[in-house]
Amino acid sequence: MTAIGEPVSEPIEVPEKEPAELEPVPDQPVDVPVAEPVGVPS
């Protein structure tokens, strides 16, 4: 038993910053594929 008690799990990964502190991701242009016209059988 230590001052902070017993370990209760394996190590976890904790980020340094809160989500609000993170740099915003700039809007990236997105290439949207344009569908080829489809022939309609007459």
Binding site: T2, I4, G5, P7, S9, P11, I12, V14, K17
Partner: protein, 154 residues
């Protein structure tokens, strides 16, 4: 890229020895720096044997390395009162912990840590210089609640 298990740094509470204007760990020979402090496995000294997990990642569940802090401020008070006589040679405060973190029943051990605030609860001595050194606020504690930040470093 590792996916984080929690969304932000963990808040912990602890105390330090106050020595020559610096915060010093109570269990090992380490002077805390302003900003980020990085944990290492304990190496051989006259107090300790080298950690068997050396040189692996810090901390590991099976070792005792990493920066320690309690999960609640009340635990700090309880342990302090058991282990130490209150004096001006100790300082209590709040830390932020991140990176690899091992959760314990009453606290955490972390790979990275920074001092986040100091509590001038052990006397009336002026801790302004210490707060300036670590660039953190002094937070006044009344009736177990943190109510007033009366100095903001920076």
């Amino acid at each position: 890229m590792k996916v984080p298990d929690v969304i932000g740094p963990v808040t912990g509470y602890r105390f330090w020895k106050y020595q020559t204007g610096k915060l010093r760990s109570t269990g090992v020979s380490y002077n805390w720096k302003p900003g980020t402090n990085t944990a290492l496995h304990v190496s051989a000294s006259h107090h300790f044997e080298t950690c068997p997990e050396y040189p692996g990642p810090v901390p590991m569940r099976a070792c005792a390395c990493g920066f320690w802090a309690y999960s609640e401020r009340a635990f700090t008070d309880v342990y302090f009162n058991v282990q130490f006589q209150p004096s001006h040679a100790y300082v209590m405060g709040r830390v932020k912990m991140w990176g690899r973190v091992v959760p314990h029943t009453h606290g955490y051990r972390a790979q990275f840590v920074r001092v986040d605030a100091l509590f001038p609860s052990l006397g009336d001595w002026d801790m302004t210089d210490l707060a300036l050194r670590y660039d953190v606020p002094l937070l006044k504690v009344e009736q177990d609640r943190i109510v007033v930040g009366f100095y903001r470093g920076g």
